[in-house]
Amino acid sequence: MTNSPLNPNPSLSFRLWRTYLFFGLAALLCLSNAYQTNRALRQRDQERGDLPYLFVGIKFSGLEETLGDASYIGYYTDKSLDDRLAAMQFAQAQLVLAPSILDLNNTSHEFTIFDCSSTEAALGKIRELGAQPLKINQFGIILARTKPETPNGISP
């Protein structure tokens, strides 16, 4: 037996054999993983072609201009956050509107965002609270003033 590139000691044949086996298996696994990765990427490319990546937080962009430097904003929703899409929307809204903090279902702040299952439901709640709608966008998200403006523009 000649010297191996993996083990310089030719007397350890069993050790050599299992080392070759290990790296052989590693190479096979690499090939299998490469094939799976290629398949997964093709599938993802196709998915993205059919439906481009959707960041639902985009529904809230533009509101920050009206909110100014409000530290806390109410976020009213009639959806359950146990629902994956509603929870995702809330989390992404928080990212888009940072550093304002969204206070879930608390309408006592100067501003409240209404993200309801229908525009009618949101407007109904706004009427019930006696709030003043300030902005509505094409996604049905309504920004309303739920409390009179404070002197420094920042709600407690």
Binding site: P5, L6, P8, R15, R18, T19, L21, F22, F23, L25, A26, A27, L29, C30, S32, N33, A34, Q36, T37, N38, A40, L41, R44, R48, Y53, F55, G57, S71, M88, F90, A91, Q92, Q94, L95, A98, P99, I101, D103
Partner: protein, 460 residues
């Protein structure tokens, strides 16, 4: 392309900073090969940049990008002057042998799927927008109100989580007055994956001198699930990096008993504590294991030197974590002690489910058999796998997974099935490079340690 190049400036500065720190520790004569030093520099540099950003935030009560950049330049300048005065020249890389050049090419090609994955998820995964990037954006934009992000009201964003990843991203944005908030987190996740895989490869290559060990990073990188997780902009890849760096340098420390390697272990552990709460647990496990090895050093003087080096490095690099935990963190808002709670007790069923789920996860399809392969390697390797220099990794895996299982059992805030489903895969993701380092390193082992060869590994 120009946006990408401009965005790379902070990462370049961090790598230079990391290089100079590693160089300062690895003296008088350099023992760490240039290739490994590069991958150590990249991650440690970013860890230090995050800490500098954190201390600047505290000093100025808000983010002052000019101060962050100024401190970076001052520290880099100071270290560079020290290096220049020491008279040590920069080691220049030589031409690699053709098998290694080929391995390097294949290694780089394996990152193409990761690039594509990053493009598929420009905003990252769920925790990226809910936790990590939210915190980064908050720190960047909130001015003096940045501490509002620790409000318990924001419990969904895990306000108690350490800040290394968000601060690394904030450092990235510091050069841009109106940044694109998507680009920097993408680059950070790509670079940490690159540094982790590069460190795994070059450390194995150094120990074994076998180009075949490139299969270790390849087999991991090409798992679709691993690529998705690495591209998700989560802190798990950051944790994986510092864990691997700590284990590699600890192995060198165990082999050579040189203080310098224990100092690098200490720095990696300190950064590890600032990545995630799991990072703190992992760092504690590893610190105890390192302490155990130090106890067995027969030479008392060397034992003392090594212990002081390790502890000083841990304490200094954990300072940011300590300040964050004691002065800012509101504590874990999602914790119920199952041992004392009558409503949510820790039951035997919960423990049984956790252990069963762990076994299920290890053989789940999404891992493409990597854990089964590593387990087979563990059996096939026999005694070789359990040699003294390899021991820190299996001891760590045992202690860490034990602690994790115990925590799942003890904290009964979440429904266990849901919690395991969403988090256990991340635990395994962050320990995978370390486990691969152990098994691959044991199989192709030769007695090559950093003390037995000069700095330049130009030929490897």
């Amino acid at each position: 392309m120009i946006a990408w190049l401009t965005a790379l400036i902070p990462y370049l500065l961090s790598t230079i900073l990391g290089y100079l720190i590693v160089d300062r520790i690895d003296r008088p004569e350099g023992r760490i090969p240039l290739s490994i030093r590069f991958f150590l520099a990249g991650g440690i540099g970013l860890g230090m940049s995050a800490q500098i950003t954190f201390f600047t935030l505290i000093a100025f009560h808000q983010l002052v990008p000019a101060a962050v950049i100024g401190i970076h330049l001052a520290v880099i300048g100071g270290l560079a002057v020290g290096k220049f005065k020491s008279g040590r020249s920069l080691p220049l890389p030589g031409l690699p042998s053709w098998p290694n050049a080929l391995a390097a090419m294949v290694f780089l090609l394996a990152f193409i799927p990761l690039f594509k994955e990053v493009q598929h998820f420009p905003w990252g995964g769920w925790d990226a927008w809910e936790v990590w990037n939210f915190k980064a954006k908050f720190i960047f934009l909130a001015g003096e109100r940045w501490t509002n992000m620790f409000e318990p009201l924001l419990w969904r964003t895990s306000p108690h989580y350490p800040l290394l990843l968000p601060l690394a991203n904030v450092w990235g944005w510091s050069f841009q007055p109106a940044p694109d908030f998507r680009l920097i987190p993408q680059i950070t996740s790509l670079l940490f994956t690159f540094f982790t895989m590069g460190l795994l490869w070059t450390a194995l290559l150094y120990h074994t001198k076998q180009p075949l060990v490139v299969t270790a990073p390849l087999v991991i990188l090409l798992i679709p699930f691993f690529a998705t997780m690495a591209a998700s902009q989560y802190a798990d890849i950051v944790m994986a990096y510092f864990l691997l760096a700590a284990l590699i340098t600890l192995r060198w420390g165990v082999q050579t008993l040189e203080k310098r390697f224990f100092i690098l272990t200490g720095i990696s552990l300190g950064c590890l504590t600032f990545t995630k709460p799991e990072g703190m647990v992992a760092a504690l496990c590893l610190l105890i294991i390192a302490g155990g090895f130090i106890l067995f050093i027969p030479d008392r003087r060397r034992q003392g030197l090594v212990l002081v080096g390790l502890m000083a490095a841990v304490v200094l690099s954990s300072l940011a974590t300590a300040i964050h935990q004691t002065s800012f963190s509101p504590g874990n808002q999602t914790f119920i002690n199952g041992l004392t709670s009558a409503d949510h007790p820790s039951t035997f069923y919960r423990m049984k489910l956790t252990l069963a789920f762990l076994l299920m996860e290890l053989k789940a399809d999404r891992w493409n058999g990597i854990w089964i392969f590593l387990a087979a390697g563990m059996i096939l390797g026999g005694r070789q796998v359990w040699r003294k220099e390899h021991l820190p990794v299996p001891l760590f895996l045992l202690a860490y997974l034990g602690a994790v299982v115990l925590y799942y059992w003890l904290n009964t805030y979440f429904s266990i099935a849901w919690w395991l489903q969403v988090s256990l895969n991340r635990i395994l993701f962050s320990i995978l490079p370390a486990a691969a380092f152990w098994i691959f390193g044991a199989f192709a082992a030769r007695k090559n340690t950093p003390s037995s060869s000069p700095t330049s590994d130009a030929r490897s």
